[in-house]
Amino acid sequence: MVHVTDPALRAIEHKIDEGISLSREDGMALFRTADIHTLGRLAQTAKERKSGKNVYYVLNRYINSTNVCYANCRFCSFAKGEKDAGAIRMSADEVIAKALETGTNFNQIHIVGGHDPRQLSLDYWLPVMRRLKELVPHAQLSFFTAAEIDYLARRHRLSADEICAQLREAGLDNINGGGAEVFAPRVRALICPNKVDAARWLEIHEVAHRHGIASNATMLYGTVETLEERVDHLIMLRESQRRSPGFNAFIPLAFHPDGNELSHFGWTSGLDDIRMFAISRLLLDNFDHIKAYWMIQGLKVCQLALQFGADDMDGTHGSTDEERIYHSAGTQSAQHVDDREFRRLIEEVGYTPVRRNSTYETFAFDWTPDSGAPAELAHA
């Protein structure tokens, strides 16, 4: 029994079933439809075609190594000037100690920071990466956004190719998806005028993919952008993935309004969140994963997102981790969700929790690196 109340969705369903990529017009129809139940059904079907009943998550550490940043993005509540009260800049030793302070039972270290002239340099990071690879060889390094890599490249006068080669050699496994915001130049001029532009963001990911570095992609929705600009952003990602495959997951990031210059936009709505998950699943037919990052939209909405196309809930974060980007901007999410709770949340939705690393190799639940046993592939 199928109640399709919006006829436009019938044609879209037909295209999806035929494996035809959706057009810009299709994307707009999905943003405008009031038939959210059909939208949800199509997205959930697309998710199950990609990943069956699996929902992925990672045991990880999350570190914001510096909040010193001179990009001055207007949506940001996190950045500080070097001399501001509240500026936090970790030394290399502090970063390593933080990563290891609760043991080594994790498969990923996720680090992002600011455009910090003192910290964001190869002299700082290459040794950190090499040491972590020695200390926790089973953990993948998911470091930087393309915005930070662009900064590194410019500071060291290196091409994208050269910087990616050096980072890969030092152990970089994955580039985080941040810094994409919304690709439209109009939007970037308004919300992040000093940040890497769309062409450069995409170039860095595409080059990184050719060097064997995987990556994710994001979109920050809920400020000045139009629905057309959201659709165009997704289509640009789809085209980039065709040119140089290597994106694993797309992560819709909801704008958070506390403590920044764009507060007047307020919180995104539940419907907007759910639409973003569903539409990104349907438009990004060459992305394997859509991630509902529990810290951003909250556990309740992210669980719901699993029935609207998402198949990943990101990571547990460590029990002593302090995420600061979204917590500065008003999220009410906790800092940490433990392994057992993660699995329960996924099972509650009727799906099978699957532990993964950054590149979506999967692991049995009982495997811990501390036991010295080799990573065992789970029956994903």
Binding site: W267, S269, G270, K300, V301
Partner: protein, 360 residues
């Protein structure tokens, strides 16, 4: 397949059996359950209007002798943190709300055995005299039966006297789960299911409309939730006195019972099955206060046609750790953002378009 047929039938107003509802609630895919509930809501109200009432809750006392384990608000008698407001203080709160356009006040508290019926009669008479445009939609069944015990009267006589004093309608609070086994565990000293329904019948027969709630997500099974819906539907067949059904979920933080919060998906599924099963209850209300504005908005696609009240002041739920607050403007923004049109109503579901926000 039989289950799909049942869903189709309910989507167009046909009656579900309890067994069908149990199976649909457990097994129907979310999107199909939601589509059917939304179709039924659009059949009942073929309009994008979504109503809400400007109201306030005044928790006049937290002293209570019922001691429900799911409650973080109450204090036993003689507890240092117990309070009871003076009539003047309650009237101040009514004025605060009336100044902001409230048409309804919900005066609700614990069951405080020191308060006699005359205390309520005098209070209601003053509210009616000083704020004739504000409807007194107040007290719960437990407070009525509490008064009946103190005064050695029947609940019906208590209701008749309070109605005389100005009580216009009764909120559906204290229903929790109208199943004996559950009540014994979470509210052993509260009225039994048949007593709760009996007081509602009395109120409705006296001409007072009432709402009815369900608090789900504590210790009850899914089948017991459906049983709750069934006893409500049975009484409604007899009286037609319920205006709206209001499911809300148990907030476990800070309560003696503890436990886990229901998921957002469980909330939406519960709304949908309620809309489909309660074919004779006119309205289904979204409760944004506990689930938050995001789920409160999504509720509009799962059978709800009403956003409840603005609740300009609220104590009970906040004490249990819920931090959501919404102003009228916020409520209207989420209703519009979902493609619906916010419309103000009063306690009796009369539309009050003259009270629309100036920016609307």
């Amino acid at each position: 397949m039989a289950l799909a047929d049942a869903l189709d039938r309910a989507a167009t107003g046909g009656r579900l059996t309890e067994g069908e509802a149990v199976r649909l609630y457990a097994q129907a895919p979310l999107h199909e359950l939601g589509a059917a509930a939304h179709a039924r809501r659009m059949q009942l109200y073929p309009t994008t209007d979504v109503t809400y009432v400007i109201d306030t809750t005044i928790n006049y006392t937290n002293v209570c002798n019922v001691h429900c384990t799911f409650c973080a608000f109450f204090r036993p008698e003689h507890h240092a943190e117990g309070y009871t407001m003076s009539h003047d203080k309650v009237l101040d709160r009514v004025k605060f709300a009336a100044d902001q356009g409230a048409t309804q006040i919900m005066i609700q508290g614990g069951v405080n055995p020191e308060l006699r019926i005359t205390w309520f009669e005098e209070l209601f008479a003053r509210v009616r005299r000083e704020f004739p445009d504000v409807d007194i939609h107040s007290l719960s069944v437990s407070e009525i039966t509490g008064l009946a015990a103190i005064e050695n009267m029947t609940p019906r006589d208590v209701l008749a006297r309070l109605r005389e004093a100005g009580l216009k309608s009764l909120p559906g609070a204290g229903a929790e789960i109208l199943v004996e086994r559950v009540r014994k565990r979470i509210s052993a000293r509260k009225v039994r299911p048949d007593e709760w329904l009996g007081v509602m019948r009395d109120a409705q027969q006296l001409g007072m409309p009432t709402t009815v709630t369900m608090m789900f997500g504590s210790i009850e099974t899914e089948a017991e939730r459906i049983e709750h819906l069934r006893v409500v539907r049975d009484l409604q067949d007899e009286t037609h006195g319920f205006t709206a059904f209001i499911p809300w979920y148990y907030v476990p933080f800070k309560t003696p019972l503890r436990g886990r919060e229901a998921s957002g998906i469980a909330y939406l599924r519960t709304l949908a099955i309620s809309r489909l099963f309660l074919d004779n209850v006119p309205h289904l209300q979204a409760s944004w206060l506990t689930p938050g504005l995001k789920l409160g908005q999504l509720a509009l696609f799962y059978g709800c046609d009403d956003m409840g009240g603005t609740i300009l002041e609220e104590q009970v739920v906040h004490d249990a750790g819920s931090t959501n607050e919404a102003t009228r403007a916020q409520l209207e923004t989420i209703v519009r953002g979902a493609g619906f049109t916010p419309v103000i109503r009063d306690t009796y579901w009369n539309l009050r378009p003259e009270m629309a926000l100036a920016t609307a």
